[in-house]
Symmetry: C2
Subunit: 419 residues, 2 copies
């Protein structure tokens, strides 16, 4: 099995992915599933060589003095490799979105119109140091009938190359083109820029990574893209809230996994319950750095002054901004002003407050009496997700297999013409 | 009623549209319809002043020596103004897409998830010389709950200003913000570029115009956009086709309205029927310039040689390229290679050929035994359209009110947290 050479140009690699995407678009679900299952088997059979390739990446990264966070993300273990294989098997078990007739109707002139789900074509993924993105993203792309065109970081290059080779081998075993999965091995800045601008090749670009990667896409991409953006997620505790429930939702949102985009970053409390709720919240959030406005600070000892920057900040760690508001209007106005459009939650027993909050707050997901942590493809029941879109075009919220497709109209007549 | 000043900056105008969009997002259908109906009445009551404003635009255009096509597009008549008013009334009569629950389900933990249709926010329209786009586009945007942020050409500035003023007055009469409709009156190149890059303001940009406008958007826009692109539409006449039907579909596609994007631009004929079909087609297409390959030319006297450029060309006029192919594979390969992704048609009695063509051809719409001219919002039953998307993200094919919306997840629980 020939590996794509590191010397091959980005545009040539793209052209190969495009060609493969045509075959993949009409491939059977059985063939696509067989490719994923074969790749899962190969990954398990090659744990040793995958870990060796990864060890070389880790060694080089340590020599370059990268942060522990980078090393944590980069490092594979037997368990992590096992998760890659089981992830592929899980995706193989999901329902194929391709071919679904989402709507259909007949016109007065007898034309029958069907809207059918079809693959996007080539889905490009640009990502950072996690080698598991190589198999997770490729698995989802291929299952939805798309060629996966991948560009990871230089830090993870040996790991990515090893994983991609097995995915390509899996495709070939299932009778699909190897180029269903194409990895760009040139990890220069120039190649990233070129990758984001291959208009004739890339049908959709999805960045998986932090703010600097997102910014690079916004600044450089000329292909259509879907942004998996920040989550400055608020929990608003209404005057009528069940305060025990509010506490549980707040603690879960902030502390259960603080490093992820659907973690809670800001607490907004109605003045009527602030004196009761905030001291309890501060005790329950032990270890969390709290910053707040003057009213909040008067109620919680040791709370620091929140700056303007704090209100807009995605901490991704054990910190929380706290705002006390006089009414629902002020709560909605604050959330609207600082929301990143990811997930916003209200805790309330007041039906009208819940209705207004869900209607007026503009975000991918609005929670009523539930943790912000639920905005997630698995939690929504999609089986797996490629990311969470914080933009409004194409897909908004968790993106599963369905969001990796587009639609086509098929119109059937018996010779109809327009008069 | 204050008109927006021509001196106001593009970003300030955008900010006003954004503010108005928040009020509009939660406005009732009744209020939005009242705004459109009031604007329709105002347009009818002010035919005289609209025609005077337009006459000044036409006079200036003639003095500048523009082409007759430009003047035709620019010039309003009583009938055209009447169409603007009736168009707004028609849109007021359409079903409001906002608030539609497109899906809903309950998770094992009891969380109830609803996917609800909501407005995009600010929809920006950049267009050329047709003043009717001002009212047509604004009507659709407002009905779908979006502020319409408009930027027409300098040629039509007086007409656009007059129409926009009446739309704003209609909004005010219905108790909605005037800034539901905002026209950029600075028609410099710099303002167009700024307009396409107002990321904090524009949720979706839709260009309405020819190839140079589309190219300008591709090159300059940093806001999300939907392209209403070219239509190099093919009709493939299969070996099994009913040739009378094929002739009728071909003539309708080419001649009924040659200047539009869903007109037929290329004929592909199976070799088995070419000798029978092509001479008949040439007679029926009298007045159409035919260019073809050698086989086609041998069958039709006077047919010119098609160049490589011809195969990819959207003539938008009385010209047609003609290709003879040996089999369905070659037909599909030719269409795939030169398709602009708009509309492709097959005429056949062979079920397998229809299945393969609809499956393998990658376009917004694939027609079986019907004219390419049917790819159109009204013909599809959408009531009206803002354009026809030839891209794959967000919307593909005719875009009606629904395509001017996005969705939001509303998740309701009773205190659920993630474990």
């Amino acid at each position: 099995m020939a590996l794509v050479s590191a010397m091959t140009s980005v545009s040539e690699l793209g052209r190969r992915a495009k060609t493969a995407s045509r075959a993949l678009a009409t491939a059977s679900t059985a063939a696509k599933d067989a490719a994923l299952l074969a790749a899962a088997d190969l990954i398990e059979q090659n744990v040793g060589s995958l870990l060796s390739a990864n060890a070389r990446d880790v060694e080089r990264a340590l020599a370059e003095g990268v942060t522990t966070t980078v090393v944590d993300r980069l490092r594979l273990s037997e368990a992590r490799v096992g998760s890659m294989a089981s992830g592929l098997r899980q995706v193989a078990g999901l329902r194929d979105p391709v071919g679904e007739v989402t709507e259909g109707w007949t016109r007065p002139n007898g034309l029958r119109i069907e809207k059918v789900r079809v693959p996007l074509g080539v889905v490009a993924i640009i990502y950072e140091n996690r080698p598991n993105v190589t198999s997770d993203a490729a698995g989802l792309c291929v299952k939805a009938g798309n060629a996966a065109f991948l560009r990871g970081s230089s830090t993870a290059i040996e790991s990515n190359r090893a994983v991609a080779a097995l995915l390509r081998e899996g495709a070939a075993k299932a009778g699909l083109p190897e180029d269903c999965v194409v990895l760009v091995e040139d990890t220069s800045y120039g190649s990233a820029r070129e990758f984001m601008r291959l208009r004739d090749v890339v049908d959709c670009l999805i960045p998986r990574g932090g703010p600097s990667l997102i910014q690079a896409v916004r600044d450089n991409a000329t292909v259509p893209y879907v942004i998996d953006g920040d989550g400055n997620c608020h929990v608003y505790v209404d005057a009528s809230a069940d305060l025990d429930m509010a506490l549980s939702i707040l603690v879960n949102g902030k502390m259960q996994r603080p490093s992820v985009c659907n973690a809670t970053e800001s607490l907004v409390v109605h003045a009527d319950v602030a004196a009761d709720f905030l001291p309890r919240a501060a005790r329950a959030l032990e270890g969390v750095r709290l910053v707040g406005d003057d009213v909040a600070r008067a109620l919680v000892e040791g709370m620091e002054q929140a700056t303007e920057e704090d209100w807009g900040r995605e901490y991704l760690g054990l910190a929380l901004s706290v705002r006390v508001v006089d009414d629902l209007d002020a709560a909605i106005a604050h959330v609207q002003r600082y929301s990143s459009g990811h997930t916003e939650a209200i805790v309330t027993r007041d039906l009208l407050a819940a209705q207004r909050f869900t209607r007026e707050v503009d975000a991918a997901a609005v929670m009523v009496n539930a943790s912000t942590r639920f905005t997630d493809g698995e939690q929504f029941g999609f089986g797996a997700e490629i990311g969470i879109s914080t933009q409004k075009l194409h897909a908004r919220g968790p993106m599963g297999l369905r969001e990796l497709t587009t639609t086509k109209y098929i119109v059937t007549g018996e010779g109809q013409i327009r008069s």
